[in-house]
Subunit: 362 residues, 2 copies
């Protein structure tokens, strides 16, 4: 906290050279925050994702945590790390000189549509905006804000949208005569869990999206099947009832719910609060993207990507941090405006230099 206060009075860093090894040269700028010459990350919003970003910064030696910014009372926020500054989001401009990239950890429904463009006008940003249908308009809003003010933003970062999107693009670019399949799970869907919690008589609930193994196997065998919604995924619900609620009524309300459950084979398990907390508090997720295609004289080819995530928010946080490194480099290269994972060369995510990547990973 005291570091942040001192930083607020510091001079803005002079423009620094950018060498081939993507190393940042410190020009002796005054202020605590430049002594370690790291990429200084600010976290906006401190829920599961923000906590994941805090831990991920500690796993990346070229990064440091500049501070956490919250709309809540800062005194009510308890960072995992000792001495991590927490400040009210409304005062973030005062800390601009100590921040290279902001990681926006708010939700896509109401936080990011407002915060994304507003903060992109004042900072380099990355976010995990994940309302697929609204990405084009969100991109345009962030692009206008960032480009006009000379900042770089990368939106919709994570695994879907994110790595799954990349694999869909790589797959269809290479196997042009083919089909793409995305399967999600086994994992917790927050949206479906929330939908169950809104059913009268439900006290708590966790919903797992489960890919149908036989469907994945058919795709892997190169059958290029046409699969209905019901054939691709099933849904498993763990539900704690309110006192006196009727399980039959609740189950029927869940399995017939339009959009969320009616088109799936859904199973409902009733349980108690202690069991739900003990066995279903983790947030695993993951899934599969497959591209199958034919080349030459009808030769089958299968291109597959899979994630098995012990924690969805912790993994998403790691992806955000890797793209924060890319956003920092984009800004140094004066590539301002909004970007997506499609626009980012893979090497920009790596702490290794291009020469190291060629020698060691190619």
């Amino acid at each position: 906290m005291s570091g942040m206060a001192r930083e607020a009075g510091g001079a803005r860093a002079a423009a620094v050279p950018w060498d081939n090894d993507f190393r940042w040269t410190c020009a002796g700028t005054p202020g605590w925050q430049r002594m370690n010459q790291k990429i200084r990350i600010g976290i906006v919003g401190y829920g599961n994702l923000g906590r994941g970003v805090e831990v991920a910064i500690g796993q990346n030696p070229d990064m440091s945590l500049a501070g956490i910014f919250t709309r809540r009372d800062p005194a009510a926020v308890r960072p995992l790390g000792a001495g991590v500054p927490v400040q009210p989001l409304q005062r973030i401009d005062a800390f601009a000189d100590g921040i290279d990239v902001l990681v926006l950890c708010g939700g896509s429904r109401s936080d990011l549509p407002e915060q994304g463009p507003a903060l992109a006008a004042r900072f380099n940003t990355v976010d995990s905006f994940d309302t697929h249908a609204r990405i084009p308009e969100y991109f345009d809003a962030v692009d206008r804000a960032a480009r006009g003010q000379g900042h770089a933003s990368i939106i919709a970062v994570g695994w879907d949208p994110g790595f799954f999107s990349l694999v869909r693009a790589y797959g269809e670019s290479v196997l042009t005569d083919g089909a793409t399949y995305t399967f999600w799970g086994r994992g917790v869907s927050q949206g479906h869990s929330d939908a169950i919690r809104r059913v009268p008589g439900v006290r708590a609930a966790v919903q797992y999206t489960v890919p149908v193994q036989q469907a994945i196997d058919r795709v892997r065998r190169g059958e290029s099947p046409s699969l209905t919604t019901r054939e691709k995924h099933t849904r498993e619900c763990y539900v704690v009832l309110q006192e006196g609620a009727d399980p039959v009524t609740v189950e029927r309300a869940i399995v017939t719910m339009p959009d969320y459950f009616a088109d799936y084979d859904t199973t409902v398990h009733f349980t108690d609060a202690a069991t739900l907390q003990r066995e279903h508090a983790a947030m695993p997720h993951g899934g599969f993207v497959l591209r199958t295609g034919r080349t030459g004289q009808n030769t089958p080819q299968v291109f597959e990507f899979a994630l098995q995530l012990g924690s969805n928010p912790e993994f998403t946080a790691c992806v955000l941090i890797a793209y924060a490194r890319a956003a920092f480099r984009l800004a140094k290269q004066r590539r301002f405006g909004a970007h997506t994972v499609f626009d980012i060369a893979p090497g920009l995510l790596s702490p290794r230099s291009p020469a190291e990547l060629r020698a060691q990973l190619l």
Copy 2:
């Protein structure tokens, strides 16, 4: 063939505008090759890979085949497509006005070290140089040639090096505390097949590299095992003996061969020439890249990519063609010199515009 001859007399295309949608606008240049406004690809070398590239061009509506260039007698080369021009490689400069990108389909041992830099000085190129240890020097040689003459080259394109390299880089950039594993196969290794053919008494041979399923399963479970060479892969050899050769002697010579087989569990199956041709003439390959890591409070995360290729050269050809599209765009953007897959934003591979990618694949 006649088209190529006419092309040789055509005027060089005027500089054309490059719009946001990566579309190329034709400025009414004379000559047959500009009528369809496609990316015009030249193939250098016409073996399995060159044939794969010829087919792949036909699967990409934004591309056309400008011609095949060979060191052999052109009359001895039989393209799959009717009317495809075949020219001697030594005359390729005469066709420069009709070619946007050359796809180099020669071998890494002797063809590419010479052809890569020489042709990068006169054309935009892509190649599948795959001698991992010599990539840095090859990169430097191509970079000097291409940069000095205003051309763009992408080297070491394919699946390993290529997509497997990308996954290694993406994986370690995101899961920084972790381990990376590459398994190859089940597939035919040309290098190991060649090594067997050099054993006295061997008439023909095909060698399959086989990943050990239990090892993959241990990695997938997040055990982060230390695996020896022998624990990761086994080798299966199908061998046709010369008349009168002693199978026991041949088998011993194979399984004890240093570098190639001595460190592996190797099985040798003797067969006849007709069976080898019938059952082992295809060139399947593939494999797995896994990155496992820990996030947060020791949460396991698994990041996996897999390829199951019915034909190794046909798939590699498709990857080359997608990166040829990127090389074409790099040249339009005046990003000259050598590049690798690490330097290429994924969107540059796709025939879709950035806006389409965001709306449809993100």
